[in-house]
């Protein structure tokens, strides 16, 4: 691990141990999400154990669920839904939010005022509540879930990007570019965007955590990913009956969620100063 750290140091980035561990956990889950079907020990939907809520054993490393299906396989496949849906949603939410935020900051005037008011209002709906309302309207197919999560988190991303862009917008080089006669589009792409990229990337990570939490929460309520598919939140819901036996089937999916979200938070907290700073 020390050798990896030294490679980063050569390029002027200083990672500490904790941040590196977090990055490895995140990389692990990304790999699992990409290659899950190749490494499944048992088929996902197949009942392989006669007992339900089976304990940890050599055949079933993470126990079995309420129907006697292998928990390890189900968690590995669940990674695809949790990580996949969240990544797409966070990407959409941040792209939309950042584009609109930069545009509002550069254009100013009534466009900025109306848009900011609107986004602030949407922002003031608690996210879980907003999720319930939208799901009740559009249902919980996977595209609908992605749309729901995007709609909920685009406003906060907008607000963040706008406040950063407003600061950049007052800089001398922007004034110079304006005097030179550059158009709004050029200003946004070539002058503002490169200057807010780093904090926006850190914000991307935080937003990802929020989205994973909300998606898991919705699935836990039975309103997220629908059976026969299951993400980590849905796995906890399915097996919550085993809670009173302390079944591993409830504990491991919860741990999976916690390991991912805590790692992302730690990584962002320990990002090299160079990336995190707003300069």
């Amino acid at each position: 691990m020390a050798s990896i750290a030294s490679v980063f140091q050569r390029y002027g980035y200083r990672f500490n141990r904790l941040g590196l561990c977090a990055a490895i956990v995140i990389l692990f889950w990304i790999m699992v999400a990409l290659f899950a079907p190749l490494i499944l020990p048992h088929p996902v939907g197949k009942i392989v154990d006669y007992d339900f809520y089976g304990p940890v054993s050599s055949a079933f490393p993470l126990g079995t669920d309420y129907l006697g299906r292998d928990m390890l396989s189900r968690i590995l496949m669940g990674t695809r839904y949790t990580v996949g849906i969240s990544v797409v949603a966070v990407f959409l939410a941040c792209s939309i939010g950042v584009c609109l935020g930069m545009t509002a900051a550069v254009t100013g005037g009534w466009f900025d005022t109306i848009f900011s008011r609107l986004m602030d209002a949407l922002n003031s709906i608690p996210s879980k509540l907003f999720g319930l309302v939208v799901v009740s309207g559009v249902g919980s197919s996977i595209p609908a879930l992605i749309m729901t999560l995007t709609v909920i988190y685009a406003p906060s991303s907008y607000r963040f990007a706008r406040s950063l862009s407003v600061n950049v917008n007052t800089m001398d080089f922007i004034t110079v570019a304006r005097t030179r006669g550059e158009g709004t589009f050029y200003l946004i792409i070539s002058e503002i965007f490169p200057n807010i990229l780093r904090p926006v990337l850190a914000d991307f990570g935080l937003r990802f955590v929020f989205i994973v939490l909300l998606l898991s929460g919705l699935s836990f309520l039975g309103l997220g990913v629908q059976p026969p598919h299951a993400d980590w939140g849905a796995l906890v819901r399915e097996n919550v009956g085993g809670l009173s036996y302390g079944a591993p089937a409830v504990i491991f999916p919860s741990l999976a969620i916690a390991s991912l979200t805590i790692s992302v938070n730690i990584l962002i907290d320990n990002l090299p100063q160079k990336i995190r700073d707003r300069s």
Binding site: A121, L129, L132, G233
Partner: protein, 316 residues
């Protein structure tokens, strides 16, 4: 209160009203996007076209959406919350008693969580960098980054399964004595306290540390004031605004937390009602519950803004 503070307060109230208008718009149109028609859900697949048309007319569904929006909002203002699709009862009757249950839970949590969180936050700020401070920081970051249901499941595992101190499921109707009240409310309140205090502790700590770094606190230190006096007399009054904001914001986490906690403990509150309504797509019920939560949330936020304006010594 001087003129400036007064106009600021008025401005906040105005913004809250505008926000409420936009929010109700969003809630209505998010639920009006239903693929397929409500009438099909109500009448089933085999309904005759005449029956569908009749019901559509009776429910004003043949009118433009904007007209229905004003009809709906007008009803809300007069206290008419509409009729539930699922069991044809007025929504107001369904919500009534459950609203009181949820308020009890929220009040109990607030009374429990706010003093604990503020004390911990202020202590952590006073001893910044100490072992206690680092433990508080790590614990609160962990709590913020895990889903509420994880906190709830762990609490059930610890208190109900291993220690067997408390029941895992709440049955409010059986409550008779004070001891039973404690047993019933303990679990949900403990879980909610964990969920909302984490954020409150972090924000309080940040606010107090911020004021401890200002020059007037340094002056107090140089003057020879004790650590306690420095924090309580010089720093705290100036950190009050941010702290009140932190409390209000964290109480708004209560909305998210309550949705999970009421479901997991089967608590007969308004959030559980709403989750069930979403599952059965009972839109009038969903809309009303959502509006109640949004109004409560906006009230809290606006109240916090107003208090922090009034508490600001420079605006007096």
């Amino acid at each position: 209160m001087n003129k400036l503070a007064f106009s600021l307060v008025l401005g906040k109230i105005g913004i809250a009203l505008v926000t409420l208008m936009i929010v109700s718009f969003a809630v209505f149109f998010a639920t009006a996007f239903l693929p397929g028609d409500v009438t099909e859900i109500l009448l089933g697949q085999s309904a005759t076209p005449e029956a569908v048309a009749g019901l559509r007319h009776a429910m004003n569904l043949d009118q433009p959406a904007i007209f229905r929006f004003f009809l709906w909002i007008g009803g809300l203002i007069q206290g008419d919350l509409g009729v539930s699709y699922a069991n044809n009862m007025p929504v107001a009757d369904l919500i009534g008693s459950r609203f009181a249950n949820s308020m009890k839970l929220a009040a109990a949590t607030t009374l429990f969580a706010v003093p604990i969180a503020l004390t911990t936050g202020i202590l952590a700020a006073m001893f910044e960098g100490s072992l206690f401070d680092r433990m508080v920081t790590v614990t609160s970051i962990t709590l913020i980054s895990v889903p509420e249901f994880l906190v709830a499941t762990i609490a059930v595992l610890v208190f109900a399964v291993y220690l067997k101190w408390l029941p895992a499921i709440v049955t409010v109707s059986e409550v008779r004595s004070f001891g039973e009240v404690l047993r019933v409310y303990a679990m949900p309140v403990i879980v909610l306290t964990f969920v909302i205090s984490a954020q409150m502790i972090r924000m309080t700590r940040a606010a107090v540390i911020g004021t401890l770094k200002t020059s007037y606190v340094e002056m107090a230190l140089l003057k020879g004031a004790s650590r306690c006096r420095m924090v309580l007399r010089h720093a705290l009054p100036n950190a009050l605004g941010p702290i009140v904001n932190a409390v209000a914001l964290s109480l708004s986490y209560l909305v998210g937390g309550v949705i999970i906690v009421e479901t997991i403990f089967n608590y007969p509150g308004i959030a559980k009602l709403m989750v069930d309504a979403v599952a059965t797509r009972d839109l009038p019920l969903v809309q009303s519950c959502a509006m109640i939560f949004c109004v409560a949330y906006l009230l809290l936020i606006t109240l916090a803004d107003i208090i922090s304006i009034i508490a600001n010594p420079r605006l007096r």
